[in-house]
C-alpha cells in the first residue's frame, strides 16, 4: 500500500500569507514604537519632528499709502504668498499711520512662526514684485566697459506699457535649452484679448533686447529673430524650493502699492512641546484599558473589540512607520490629536457597520474642503486626517481578514 501524502496548497498559502502579515504587523509596530531606532544602527527610524526647525520673526513693513483698500490688498497678497509657501502660523497686523519725512505711511507687522526656509520667507514678505516689460533706452550702451552692469538697472530702460496686469498667468516650467540641459523658464501668458498686441510687440523687437523689470532690477531678454510664439524668460534658480517661491511671487496677485521692509525682529519660536515617548506609553495603556473595560462591562462583543484594537494599532503604527521611513517632518502636538481621532473613528466604524460609508464619505469630504479652503494648522491636520481615514479603512479590512485566518488555524 502506497501512502500518498496530502498536500493542501491552499492551506499552505494561507499560512504563508498569515506569517507574512504577522511579520508586517510586528515590523510596523517595532518601527512605530518610540526609541526603536536604538535597536539598529543600519537604518534610521527617527521621527523627524518639526520642533527644532521652528523659528519666529516679526517683519515691519512701511506702506506708501493710507488708503484702506490698498492696505488690505497688500495684507491679503502677503498672506496668500506665505500661506501658499506653507508657513504654519501667520499674523499680519495693521499698526496704523505714521509720518515719515512729512509723508504719511502705514505700518504693517508681519509675524511668522514657521519651519520654512527663512531666506525665502523673507523674499516673500519683502518683495513687492512689480513686473514690467521694458526696452533699452537708445542712448544707453550696454557694452560700455565703464558701466558693465548698466543692463541690470531699470533707469536704463523705457517702459513698453506692458506689465503684470496684461498677463493672466506666468507659468514656471523646466525647458530644454540649446545646450541640451534643462533650466527653469517663466512663460508669460497674456490675456486672450492682448495676445495679438503682444505678438506685435515681440515682432517689433525681433533680434533686439527687451527687459523684465522686477522691482527696479532688469533681466535682459533677447527676442529671437524667428517668429516667437511663447515669451519664455530663463530663471537663475535651480533648487525646487527657490522655484516654488518665485512661482508664488509671480502668481499671487499684484501689489501696486510701494512698500519697504523696515525692520525684522527675531522672536522666541512658539513651539508646543509634547513628550512623544510619554504620550505613546499613555496611548498604549489607555487603548488597552479602554478595550478591557468594554470587554469587562460586556458592552461589546469580544470579536469586535479584537478587530477594533488590531485595526487601531495597525493604523497608527503604519502611519508612524510611513512618517519615520520617508522622513516626513511632523508637528508632534498633532500626533496625539490624530491618534485620538483615529481611535474614535475605528471604534465607531467597527460597531456601526450600517454607517461606515456615510461616515467615511462625510469625513473625507469635510477634510478635503478644509484642505482646499483652509490654512495653517487646520489645513495640515486635515491632510493628515484624509490619509488616516483611508488607512483606517485598509486596516479594518486587513484586521478582519487576519483575525478570520487566525481562527481557521
Amino acid at each position: 500500500m502506497k501512502l500518498k501524502p496530502k498536500f493542501d496548497i491552499k492551506h499552505l498559502l494561507n499560512n504563508l500569507f498569515l506569517i507574512i502579515a504577522t511579520s508586517i504587523i510586528f515590523t510596523a509596530v517595532l518601527v512605530a514604537l518610540p526609541l526603536t531606532e536604538k535597536i539598529t544602527e543600519r537604518t534610521s527610524f527617527d521621527l523627524v519632528t518639526k520642533e527644532n526647525q521652528y523659528w519666529s520673526k516679526e517683519y515691519t513693513l512701511e506702506l506708501q499709502t493710507t488708503d484702506k483698500k490698498s492696505i488690505e490688498r497688500v495684507r491679503n497678497i502677503i498672506f496668500k504668498r506665505l500661506n501658499k509657501f506653507g508657513v504654519e502660523n501667520i499674523k499680519i497686523t495693521n499698526i496704523g499711520k505714521e509720518v515719515r519725512e512729512e509723508e504719511e505711511v502705514t505700518v504693517l507687522k508681519v509675524f511668522v512662526n514657521t519651519t520654512k526656509d527663512p531666506n525665502l520667507v523673507k523674499e516673500l514678505v519683502a518683495n513687492q514684485f512689480q513686473i514690467r516689460i521694458v526696452v533699452r533706452k537708445e542712448e544707453v550702451d550696454f557694452f560700455d566697459e565703464e558701466e558693465p552692469f548698466a543692463y541690470l538697472f531699470a533707469e536704463n530702460y523705457e517702459p513698453t506699457g506692458w506689465d503684470r496686469t496684461n498677463f493672466r498667468n506666468i507659468h514656471i516650467t523646466e525647458l530644454k535649452t540649446t545646450d541640451n540641459t534643462y533650466t527653469y523658464f517663466a512663460i508669460f501668458k497674456p490675456w486672450v484679448s492682448k495676445q495679438a498686441d503682444f505678438t506685435k510687440l515681440l515682432d517689433t523687437y525681433r533680434g533686439e533686447y527687451l527687459g523684465i523689470d522686477i522691482d527696479g532690477f532688469v533681466s535682459p531678454y533677447l527676442v529671437p529673430l524667428e517668429e516667437q510664439k511663447i515669451f519664455a524668460v530663463p530663471l537663475n534658480y535651480q533648487s525646487e524650493k527657490d522655484v516654488e517661491a518665485i512661482n508664488i511671487l509671480y502668481n499671487s496677485g499684484i501689489i501696486s502699492t510701494s512698500y519697504s521692509l523696515v525692520t525684522e525682529e527675531n522672536l522666541e519660536p512658539q513651539i508646543i512641546k509634547v513628550n512623544y515617548v510619554g504620550i505613546s506609553i499613555g496611548f498604549i495603556v489607555s487603548l488597552l484599558l479602554t478595550y478591557l473595560s468594554l470587554v469587562l462591562l460586556k458592552h461589546d462583543d469580544i470579536n469586535m473589540v479584537k478587530k477594533a484594537l488590531l485595526a487601531s494599532m495597525l493604523t497608527i503604527c503604519i502611519y508612524l512607520s510611513i512618517l519615520k521611513i520617508f522622513n516626513i517632518p511632523v508637528d508632534t502636538f498633532l500626533l496625539p490629536i490624530v491618534a485620538i481621532l483615529t481611535f474614535l473613528l475605528i471604534k465607531t466604524l467597527v460597531v456601526n457597520l450600517d454607517s461606515v460609508i456615510y461616515i467615511e464619505i462625510a469625513l473625507i469630504t469635510v477634510f478635503l474642503i478644509v484642505k482646499i479652503v483652509g490654512y495653517g494648522y487646520a489645513e495640515i491636520l486635515a491632510s493628515h486626517l484624509i490619509w488616516l481615514v483611508l488607512l483606517s479603512k485598509v486596516s479594518l479590512i486587513a484586521s478582519e481578514w487576519y483575525l478570520n485566518k487566525l481562527k481557521e488555524i
Partner: protein
C-alpha cells in the same frame, strides 16, 4: 464680543473668506446629505441644529476660556472646530446610518433608533473620556488646556445632540 471683533479685525480678508467658505460649504452640505440619505425632515433639522450648536459651543467655550479663566487663545485653538466637527460627524453618522438601513424594515420605530443612538453616544463618551484623560497626564500648559477644552466640548456636543434628537426627532 470684543475679543471676537479684535480677532475678526486682525484677520486678513483672505482668512475671513477662508473661514466663511469652510462654514458655508460644510454647514449646508451635511444637512442636505442627511436629507437625501434619510428623506426624513426631523433628522435633517436635527443635523442642522447639531452643526449650529457645534459652532455655538466653540464660540462660547473660547469666550469662557478668555474671560472666565483669563487664558490666552493661541493658534492651536483653531483646531478645536475641526476636532468637534469630526466627533459630530461620527455622532450624527451613526444615527443616520442606522436609520437609513433599518427604516424600511417592518416593525422599525423611533424608540429603537433612540436606544441605538443612546448606546453609540455612551460608547463615544467612554472612549473620549478615557482617551483624553489618559493623554492629559502627559501634557502641560497650553496643549493641556486645549485637550481638556476640546474633550469637554466634544462630550457636551454628544449629549446636546442627544437632547436635540429627543426634542426634534423623537417628540
Amino acid at each position: 464680543m470684543e475679543i471676537f471683533l479684535d480677532l475678526w479685525n486682525n484677520w486678513t480678508t483672505l482668512e475671513k473668506i477662508s473661514g466663511l467658505s469652510c462654514f458655508c460649504i460644510i454647514f449646508p452640505l451635511l444637512p442636505i446629505a442627511v436629507k437625501v440619505i434619510t428623506k426624513n425632515k426631523p433628522l435633517s433639522i436635527f443635523s442642522t441644529l447639531s452643526l449650529l450648536s457645534t459652532a455655538l459651543f466653540t464660540l462660547i467655550g473660547i469666550v469662557a476660556l478668555r474671560i472666565v479663566f483669563d487664558l490666552e487663545i493661541s493658534h492651536i485653538f483653531l483646531l478645536t472646530p475641526l476636532v468637534l466637527l469630526f466627533v459630530n460627524i461620527l455622532n450624527i453618522g451613526t444615527c443616520v446610518g442606522y436609520y437609513s438601513m433599518h427604516s424600511k424594515r417592518k416593525g422599525f420605530n423611533l424608540i429603537e433608533l433612540k436606544e441605538e443612538y443612546q448606546k453609540d453616544s455612551i460608547q463615544l463618551t467612554i472612549l473620549i473620556l478615557l482617551l483624553f484623560l489618559s493623554l492629559s497626564i502627559f501634557l502641560t500648559s497650553t496643549f493641556l488646556v486645549f485637550i481638556i477644552f476640546t474633550g469637554l466640548l466634544s462630550l457636551g456636543i454628544i449629549w446636546f445632540n442627544y437632547a436635540l434628537f429627543y426634542w426634534f426627532v423623537l417628540k
